[in-house]
Symmetry: C2
Subunit: 192 residues, 2 copies
Amino acid sequence: MALKHAILSALSRGVPLSGYRLNNVFSDPTERVWHASASQVYSELIKMERAGLIAVDERNERGATTYVITPAGMDELRHWLSFTEPDHTIRDDSLLRMMTVWVLDETAARHLIEAEITFQRKRVSMLRLKISDYSEVRGNERVWRNRLAVHYLWLAQAQVHISWLERLPRILEDAAVPVGDVLGDLELAARG
Amino acid sequence: MALKHAILSALSRGVPLSGYRLNNVFSDPTERVWHASASQVYSELIKMERAGLIAVDERNERGATTYVITPAGMDELRHWLSFTEPDHTIRDDSLLRMMTVWVLDETAARHLIEAEITFQRKRVSMLRLKISDYSEVRGNERVWRNRLAVHYLWLAQAQVHISWLERLPRILEDAAVPVGDVLGDLELAARG
DNA sequence: CTTGTCATGTAAAAGGTTACATGATTAG
DNA sequence: CTAATCATGTAACCTTTTACATGACAAG
């Protein structure tokens, strides 16, 4: 449903993109907004071109077809933002797992939690890199300021996630300590 | 695919649940792990019962059929956790919108951001309520400590999200201030 | 007596994944 | 000369949504 809008959002930034480039965005683990499989993106692009929301920019020597957004596409994007309700539903496989680790013994649970911490730490360092490179690659326009801001949010949320994961084993293993004593300051830090 | 595991995870807690009760969980806006539509849950339950992962507990006077998890269901749950890779892909409609607000004029953008803040504030107060009621409703077993911990994570992340949203208009409206100056401390706070 | 909550399902359509298929170019 | 990356697509299958259909019970 919203793959269309994710593609329009990416093309609205003014840089023409090919299906291949869009796929890089949609499969990047630091880009925590929209995921799509490669084949889905290609067929969606064809549908959107037929609908007049995007247009072919050029077919380069390498065989890549790049697309740009059309005025009709911009209209659709603005209409979506202003006149449709956001969908707050989420499917988060990795958090579902973290909610269910208690069914495992301590060793297996720690193993899973460690693996998740490793993943999130990688994400943090990739995000930091992207953020520090930002001013070299992009200008100070509204578009890029907006996008950079989202990177800061991802970074902060990954960091909260890591502190939480680091405390989770204590909660599962030491029933004497109240959960609030271990995690209460996570909330205070976030508000500060 | 993982709706099966979301249902198994819910039933693993030992409390028998009907399709209707499960639907309440899957459509609760504070439960930011797995969403499913009502009709999908009912047909999935029938499939899972046939597969022997869950069993009918009782059919009560009101017409509700409650289910319990079987030993085969617990095996499937543990196998999923320990021997399959977590799926880190996400589709977040509301964040996609926040990444695209720059295409709107200042008034419309502020409007959207305000609506999102209102939503997140509601979520925070619902989560706070759930957390403070927790010790009355649930015991101190591993299951409930694990689940309560997830509620603390949601609370902290909603709070980070709110501080970020509150700063977003400044980023979009005042190009003179570097984005890092506005959002840099979000990360520091999160790290503790 | 009517609205809201409880309670379950079917069927068609839309959205999304996986497997397969192909071929060019680039870097080591 | 071989592996990785670039580049696009089709077809079968699975998952999920939406619309529809039904009916009991409780509260105001």
